[in-house]
Symmetry: none
Subunit: 403 residues, 2 copies
């Protein structure tokens, strides 16, 4: 029996409410040996109080040593083994900029590149053209019309963009057009199985149009496409767990992943933690489960801005009473992965995890929320895919296994 | 290679003795945040002394968040992955009341229900009839004779009973007769494959007789059967580990599970921990491995009786010198799952584990046996299925893997 089948079999109805509060890239590092991490340095009286009442641990999003991308990291939090449930790169790029990818749509990641007069690639990233310069070029490509299908194109960042094609009978088994080297022409879109022939033809038509639209550019005068993929048809979170589930997030990527697993999206007015918690409060009666995503911990970590990341954590702590006043039965506070300011990037380090559940959590002896205390916590170090079963258990939503 | 194959390959003969002392439902919780658990509150000078000399950890019977039933929890302690080795519900119910289920026998869980004059179920649990009222009704059903097979029936609790049918050519692939709703008649026993046709017919004949036997009852005037199953033909513990193994238990369920894995049952005079330890002492020379089961920690936990559970733990501690005087080479003290008095039921919380093995255990820095100290113990948090390999290793009964 799969883990999901076990959840389906053991779930029971309850009136309890679960909140999963994710500070993106929460896990950190000291800037020097013996120092404090961002989370340890932050003044977090509310988190520390619930740490006393709750239990701590460390979670491993994928496996020891493996640095997760945002997609897999969130799937893992939602209980999906990220090594098994793979969302295509094209889909992740598209949902990351707010496009929708439904069943039968085909999404791809696009790169601008520079070709010489013979059409051979001389720069696979078009001189890393700035986002501001790329936007109007993407705008021109968005006008390209391919008969029989609808195409949507959006800029991502610098030389990157995303394409989604919608129409009848499209397949996504298409090889990358990026030859991964210079001195050769971009490859045509080539179907890897007959069911994708039609889509490949349409993409070649689109590439033809896009090449005309960008032909006069000094740098971004050609394109390559990679990661052709479609809606992965993931098992649906509300059905697996028997939870009416809402996503409260500001950034498109996290809304997109939540939508792929079947959560409802709730609007947020503003982009501060307090704004997101206010959105939770407005929707409180309509859901059993709230996934709240705080982006800026990760952003400051990627900036290498230790103090900035500390400040974001403190702003979450300050707004926390709004959440606690709703009296959730289970509140987990964690990250999707680590983004230590010291390393300015996602890392593989285990992620601090705090579980608070009045009456059902076994308190440990830790008194503040931080990486070192989590390493001593009562929950131990565990795979992130086990977060959801833990939340379900503490919410009284799982019956006993076996007699 | 399966874990069992590895045990078979690596085991070596030794004269060492292993004791696995299981206090049922040992894991607990504080009654309020910051308080002590049952095990932490108990005065346990003997356990604390061997905790100093040994090593502690926390074990996970099934998986994080999953609350184990008694059957799966014990299989896990014996090294059987409880998600793989599933013992049927009928078998568990039958062995729980002391019936034997051998290869070819078919066991089922029975419910009394109430039907109206049209034969339609109006109460699936017969008004939760009291155990005392149910016993004589079960007694009448036990007289029902089905030609060609022998049937045994015993009361379980309240409206529940167990049936075992014995005879030639019986199969256990039979659908539940409980329609899981009111307003309809109980279903007939229906074979799910041809090899179970004969058994289904016999069960229908038995149900017919049982219905006649209970027809005059105001509440328990009909029956439903569920969980048809037979001896799961588990790999046998003595062969897997090369251990002559004894079960010293008072309650039928635990004797039953031990018998299913091939342990010998040793009689106990009395039902106190000291009585069970005395039984171990009498049988000491005849076995390599003793599984000792203490029930009342779980019973007091289910009662919500914190102090009562503390007292049971203390009575085990007090009797412990009897065991220690036998000079076991390896002694593990643990539970099969948690039953916090605060929650009055089995729970998913990890289980305290103490490993004592003079000369082979690597002591940690913990000085008393309790949930918080176990969370800091040298053994970490580990799946319960890894208990047996650990005991085998510490008993010098496993050779090196690879050259």
């Amino acid at each position: 029996m799969s883990d999901f089948d076990r959840m389906r079999e053991l779930q029971q109805t309850a009136s309890t409410k679960i909140v999963l509060l994710v500070m993106d890239g929460l896990g950190g590092m000291a800037m020097r040996p013996g120092g404090l991490t961002e989370l340890e340095a932050a003044e977090t009286p509310n988190l520390d109080r619930i740490a006393v009442e709750g239990a701590l641990g460390l979670s491993l999003p994928i496996a020891p040593g493996i640095t997760p991308g945002s997609g897999p990291a969130h799937l893992s939090l939602f209980g999906y083994d990220p090594l098994h449930y793979v969302v295509g790169r094209g889909v992740l790029e598209a949902i990351g900029v707010g496009m929708q990818v439904h069943k039968g749509d085909v999404a791809a990641r696009g790169n601008f590149c520079t070709v010489d007069s013979a059409g051979k690639i001389i720069d696979r990233r078009a001189g890393r053209i700035a986002s501001e310069a790329a936007a109007p070029i993407v705008e021109r490509m968005a006008q390209v019309n391919v008969p029989g299908v609808a195409t949507e194109v959006r800029p991502v960042k610098e030389y990157r963009f995303a394409v989604v094609m919608r129409g009848p009978d499209l397949g996504a088994h298409i090889a990358d057009t990026d030859p991964q080297q210079t001195g050769v022409e971009p490859l045509p879109a080539r179907a890897l199985e007959p069911g994708s022939n039609k889509a490949a033809e349409h993409f070649n038509a689109w590439i033809h149009g896009a090449r005309q639209a960008v032909a006069g550019e000094p740098k971004a005068n050609a394109v390559t496409l990679r990661g052709f993929s479609t809606d992965p048809a993931l098992p649906q979170f509300p059905e697996i767990y028997g939870l009416r589930a809402a996503c409260v997030a500001v950034y498109p990527m996290y809304k997109g992943v939540s939508r792929l697993v079947g959560m409802e999206l709730e609007d947020v007015q503003g982009d501060m933690p307090a704004d997101e918690f206010a959105a939770v409060a407005r929707a409180w009666t309509r859901y059993d489960f709230f996934f709240i995503h705080i982006k800026k911990t990760d952003s400051r970590g990627e900036d290498g801005d230790f103090d900035g990341k500390v400040a974001v954590i403190e702003s979450v702590d300050k707004a926390l009473p709004t959440l606690l006043d709703l009296k959730p039965d289970v509140l987990a506070v964690t990250g999707d992965h680590s983004t230590p300011a010291r390393m300015k990037t996602h890392t593989w380090h285990p992620v601090p995890f705090l579980l608070w559940a009045p009456g059902t959590v076994r308190s440990d002896d830790q008194t503040q929320f931080g990486e070192r205390s989590c390493a001593h916590g009562g929950l131990g170090t565990f795979p992130t895919t086990q977060v959801m079963p833990q939340l379900m258990a503490h919410a009284g939503r799982l019956i006993k296994f076996g007699a």
